[in-house]
Subunit: 437 residues, 2 copies
């Protein structure tokens, strides 16, 4: 049932503290639901005990596809041929998206350095690729080659090897050729066809077909995400927890209401757990967007319209602030995954926002362009994680080793501090290693 009357406009100044908390603390995801946790633990156990056989079982039960075990690993030829099996327009789009993501991430690459900081004391840092990564690309409810672009490209720019991709098969047992095409275009050669939960478990503990990886990443349903969290018990690092998507538009009275409504709906159509918000100081804009949304919802396919309605009406909303300062403060507290600022001077408002995964500036920078083509990351922190986490870029796939080299003089210079601290903390061997050298 899609709304037909204008949406309500909520005044920020009169939100009850509880309602405000509900909006900010949208946990959204059910990752920590005991049932979900138990299912993830069972998958990890099954894969640890039965290896590839568990992958086959899970894929049959949850994806409805019966695979011979030797079909789990997608053959190299199938990957190599994938770009030729998709339309030329799609292929060109993927190439362009990869190209821009590559350039953006190359520009982000940090430089290693090692230099004298004081006489006799040299120090620095070496950035090196992580030792391997398992990437989960969802499938089933949709097709997500753009997810493959935004995660695999920076992993390749970082130089990670191996990169192992897990993708659930479609009903006929095949893998989305667009996802395989991305793998081929970026140079990823290992793709595992299997159920997501079991596949992530395999990336943590290893099976004959799936090597255990020191890190995993990729957006999934709560079961997949819960399995990623549990993968930590096997010493696997989770590079990011990626939940349902969220978009906030921060706009002043000069924004075009129809464009704002289009952008609001575009991020809202992802799923019923998504959230889309407009925050503005303009009552006229709020009212115009509230009036424009229902007709736009009506123009979407029924399932997308239902998702978008849930995201805007139930999980998000249209919020009216007294001033743009108040509006910006609310957005900053929300810490959205995606933020679009449409205002007379968006760069000035930028300085008021500290917490957002992505910040798009101005009326010509819609969310969907960033999702698909600009080259900035599209796998971003959700559920208020933008207060303490970053999107997936080349920086996610590098680690820093600190490096230091002293000479005899440098060590002599540090000796009093080592003696004082080692003695106070009660570590005599620490002191002796310097004093008796």
């Amino acid at each position: 049932m899609v709304v037909t009357s204008p949406l309500p406009v909520q005044r920020l100044a009169t939100l009850s503290p509880q309602r405000r908390r509900e909006i900010l603390d949208r946990a959204g995801s059910h990752v920590f639901d005991p049932t979900v946790q138990a299912a993830a633990a069972a998958a990890l156990r099954a894969v640890r005990e039965r290896g590839d056989a568990a992958l086959v079982e899970y894929t049959e039960i949850f994806d409805g596809v019966r695979l011979a075990p030797d079909r789990l690993a997608v053959p190299a030829e199938e990957i190599a041929e994938a770009p030729g099996r998709i339309g030329s327009g799609l292929r060109a789009a993927l190439r362009e998206a990869i190209d821009r993501a590559r350039r953006y991430n190359e520009r982000l690459l940090p430089r290693s350095w090692l230099e004298p900081l004081e006489p006799g004391i040299t120090a620095g840092v070496r950035f090196t690729p992580i030792a391997g990564v398992g990437v989960y690309i969802p499938s089933g409810k949709g097709t997500f080659p753009s997810t493959a672009v935004t995660i695999l490209t920076p992993a390749v720019v970082a130089g990670v090897d191996p990169i192992v991709v897990v993708v659930p098969p479609r009903a006929d047992g095949s893998i989305d050729p667009a996802v395989l095409a991305v793998c081929a275009l970026v140079g990823v050669r290992r793709v595992i066809r299997c159920n997501g939960v079991a596949g992530v478990a395999a990336l943590a503990v290893g099976t004959p077909t799936v090597p255990a990886m020191p890190a995993v990443v990729g957006p999934g349903n709560p079961y997949v995400t819960a399995t990623q969290l549990l993968a930590q018990t096997a010493g696997t690092r989770v590079l990011a927890l990626l939940g349902p998507t969220e978009a906030v538009i921060l706009a002043d009275g000069g924004a075009d209401p129809r464009r704002v409504a289009l952008d609001l709906i575009s991020e809202a159509e992802h799923g019923a757990e998504s959230a889309a918000l407009l925050v503005t100081d303009s009552a006229a804009l709020a009212a115009a967007v509230a009036a424009a949304v229902p007709a736009l919802l009506g123009g979407l396919p029924p399932e997308r319209a239902r998702f978008a309605e849930a995201a805007i009406v139930r999980n998000g909303g249209i919020f009216l602030a007294e001033t743009m300062d108040d509006a910006a403060a609310f957005v900053d507290a929300f810490a959205p995954e995606h933020l679009l600022i449409v205002a007379a001077n968006p760069r000035q408002l930028l300085d008021r926002i500290r917490h957002a995964g992505e910040i798009l500036l101005g009326a010509w920078s819609p969310f969907s362009a960033a999702n698909y083509a600009i080259g900035v990351p599209a796998a971003l922190p959700t559920g208020r994680a933008a207060r303490a986490a970053s999107g997936i870029t080349v920086l996610s796939f590098l680690k820093a080793s600190s490096v230091a080299e002293l000479d005899a003089d440098g060590l002599r210079r540090l000796r009093p501090a080592v003696e004082a601290l080692g003695t106070y903390e009660g570590f005599p061997a620490h002191v002796r290693a310097v004093v008796e050298r």
Copy 2:
């Protein structure tokens, strides 16, 4: 019972696959033990339900200190006076250590940028401090002002605000004045005196005295670490999982055996779960170090000697490789927290090592100098996490927001890619937001 005869020397080439796996997969920590997990969950529940009263209870039960609730927050004057209450040598050492850590971390600061990548397409990144952090500094079994230096200094350099420190009280209810002195010297004003497990739980869920933080960090026993992991259920990010310390020395025949033995023991004295290894291609060096260790152990206080023996004999060892290449490959697979390379040309071996939290070069760069005084991080990835994680630096306390701005021409340039990808993935509103603009 401290060993008196020379330690065994183990040949890498003849290690059984199982023994090799045991050495590499030292999980060491019992974070995922069900008892530990249940205790952490109980603490989180207690603090959620009873707030500050639970902090008081836990501190009485586990730390043996009965506190009035109004003593949980350490008064500002007590922090401010702390530098005057410690010896001048210790104070000078802390100032020096903070100073060097500050300079190292300032040099690591990444620069934000926003620049045109193509006509009409501007993109970039903004690095901003995370929205707040809770830092756990252990106490009780020892005193750890150096831990406060190595974690708080980069948090301050990043500009994180608030920084909330949790420290368990000593038997008389007071807080280690050296830890408070570090807080005063770096400018941290909020210190909570309470049990570690309950304190970390409070940093996740909040109490009247302890604000909920979006991130936590700090080395602790398995109960504290398990509570940090569970803090993720409250939306709190764990910046690093820091387990028992590990040190590897990679040395060739030119290394001085006594110095190598001193360095081996210095990291080994931390605790019975620590690990210390020598890996060398020189049978002579291996034998000489094996002979030198027992006498050095005998010179330590009994508890330190017991710890060091466990770390070297049970958890670590002296390993002889056929070649320095083999030795380096083994060290790389081990992915140690701390690595010291003592060889004719340490920088050449550096290029063979990809995975180590810290790499020290040459005979004048002992672990204890890096722990206390060089300024490089001393809170580093353990348990093979160095394959996919970094030490705690200013980078740990920053997050990246991607930024993009298109003009009409830039968006026009991206339109075909957005149309092709949005259509293929089945997101019509994504396409409309660009096409109908």
